[in-house]
C-alpha cells in the first residue's frame, strides 16, 4: 500500500476507484475485505482534504474604486 498522504488528488482518486471496483467484484478475500474498505475510507478522506485545500486556494479577484482589478481575497464558504 502506498503512503496515502503523499498521493496527489488524481492518484488517490484512481486508487479509490480501484478499491471500490475490487470490493464490488466479489473477488476480494473475506478476511481482507474490511482492511480494503478501511483503505478506501482513508483514500476518500485524503481526496476530501485535497479538495478542501484546492478550494481554499481559489481566490476571488477584488476590484478597486475605479473598477479595475487590484488584488485577490480568499473565497469564503465553499
Amino acid at each position: 500500500m502506498s503512503d496515502i498522504s503523499a498521493l496527489s488528488f488524481e492518484e488517490a482518486m484512481k486508487e479509490l476507484e480501484g478499491v471500490v471496483r475490487d470490493l464490488e467484484s466479489g473477488n476480494v478475500e473475506l478476511e481482507k475485505s474490511i482492511s480494503l474498505y478501511e483503505q478506501g475510507a482513508r483514500l476518500k478522506a485524503h481526496c476530501e482534504k485535497k479538495l478542501k485545500e484546492a478550494e481554499e486556494k481559489v481566490a476571488r479577484i477584488t476590484l478597486g474604486p475605479d473598477g479595475q482589478p487590484n488584488g485577490t481575497t480568499p473565497v469564503e464558504g465553499l
Binding site: 471500490v20 470490493l23 464490488e24 467484484s25 466479489g26 473477488n27 476480494v28 478475500e29 473475506l30 478476511e31 475485505s33 474490511i34 474498505y37 478501511e38 478506501g40 475510507a41
Partner: protein, 310 residues
C-alpha cells in the same frame, strides 16, 4: 416447551491454519458462555451426522463430490482464498447440517419451542457449485429445503443478520418461491453482493444494505419493515443465519451493533414467529470473530430465545 442447543465436539475438529479468524476457539468461547448459570435450563443435544445426500437438497452433485475429494489426510486443503478443510472438516460440516435438521425436527414436533445450532464451519456463503468465505455447504438453506420437502411445510423464512451478505443462501434460494430470504449486510464489504435491487426470481428476496459505521438505530429501521413483509408471507417456520460480526468490536466488519442490538433483533424475530408460526425458530451460527463479543452476543441471543421459548 424449551429451548434446545445443538452442538458437537466435531465442530472443534474443523481446524483452520494459524491466524485464521474462523477458528475453533470461536466455538469454545460460545460453549463457555452457554455454560453459565443463566443457561441451566437450556436443553443440550448432540448435533447428529447428516447423510451426505442431504447436501444435494441445495448443491450440485459435483460440488459434494469435490468437497469430499478435497478432504486432506493431514494438514489442510485450500478450497479458495479464505476457505480451508482439515481432516475433521467433513464431519463438522455434515454435523452442522445434521444439527440444523434435527433442530427443525424438534421444533416442528413440539419437543422444543426454538433452537440454536452452535456448529462450524458456517454456511451462508456457499453457492450451488462453490465453497467460499469459510463455508463449505449452505447449512441453513439445506435445512429450509428439508423443512419444505421432508416435513411438507408450505412456506419458510430465512433471516440473516451476519455483517456479510448471505450470497450463498441467495444463490440457493433464488428460484424458491416457498422461501422468503431477508439479509442485512454492510455494503461495501465482502462478498460484494446484497444490494437492494437483488430481489430473487419471485420477488421473495429482500436485501437490506447497511452503511459502514452504522449501528443499532439504522439496523432497526431497516429490519422493522422487512419483518412486516415476512409477516405478510406467513411462514410456517423461521430459520436464522445468526452471524455476530456486525458487533462493533468485530475485526472483519465495520458496523457498530452491541449485544442489545442482537437481543433486539432476536426478540423482534421471536415476536414475528409468535404471530405467524407458533414461535417456531431455528437459529444457526454463522460469523462473529471477536471472541469476547461473540460470546456475549450469542449469550444475549440465546437468552432471548429461552425467554420467548418458555
Amino acid at each position: 416447551m424449551t429451548t434446545l442447543l445443538f452442538t458437537h465436539e466435531s465442530g472443534l475438529a474443523h481446524v483452520s491454519p494459524l491466524g485464521h479468524p474462523e477458528r475453533a476457539e470461536r466455538l469454545e468461547a460460545i460453549t463457555a458462555a452457554l455454560a453459565g448459570p443463566g443457561f441451566a435450563a437450556l436443553a443440550r443435544r448432540a448435533a447428529p451426522l447428516a447423510d451426505e445426500a442431504e447436501v444435494l437438497r441445495c448443491h450440485a452433485p459435483e460440488h459434494l463430490a469435490g468437497i469430499k475429494a478435497a478432504r486432506p489426510e493431514r494438514g489442510w486443503s485450500q478450497i479458495d482464498a479464505d476457505t480451508y478443510m482439515s481432516p475433521g472438516s467433513w464431519e463438522a460440516a455434515l454435523r452442522a447440517i445434521g444439527g440444523a435438521e434435527a433442530a427443525v425436527d424438534a421444533v416442528l414436533s413440539g419437543e422444543a419451542a426454538n433452537a440454536f445450532v452452535a456448529m462450524r464451519p458456517p454456511g451462508h456463503h456457499a453457492e450451488r457449485d462453490r465453497a467460499m468465505g469459510f463455508c463449505l455447504f449452505g447449512t441453513v438453506s439445506v435445512a429450509a429445503r428439508y423443512a419444505l420437502d421432508h416435513h411438507g411445510l408450505a412456506r419458510v423464512a430465512v433471516l440473516d443478520f451476519d455483517v456479510h451478505h448471505g450470497n450463498g443462501t441467495q444463490d440457493l434460494l433464488w428460484d424458491e418461491p416457498r422461501a422468503v430470504f431477508v439479509s442485512s449486510q454492510q455494503i461495501p464489504l465482502y462478498p460484494g453482493s446484497g444490494h437492494a435491487d437483488e430481489t430473487g426470481a419471485h420477488g421473495q428476496i429482500v436485501n437490506l444494505p447497511l452503511r459502514p459505521g452504522s449501528g443499532g438505530a439504522e439496523m432497526r429501521a431497516a429490519w422493522r419493515p422487512a419483518l412486516a413483509r415476512v409477516a405478510d408471507f406467513a411462514p410456517d417456520l423461521i430459520l436464522i443465519s445468526a452471524g455476530f460480526d456486525a458487533h462493533r468490536d468485530d475485526p472483519l466488519g465495520g458496523l457498530n451493533w452491541t449485544e442489545d442490538d442482537f437481543a433486539w433483533i432476536t426478540g423482534a424475530i421471536c415476536d414475528l414467529a409468535a404471530k405467524t408460526c407458533g414461535g417456531r425458530v431455528v437459529s444457526c451460527l454463522e460469523g462473529g470473530y471477536d471472541l469476547d463479543a461473540l460470546a456475549a452476543s450469542v449469550a444475549a441471543h440465546v437468552t432471548v430465545l429461552m425467554e420467548r421459548g418458555q
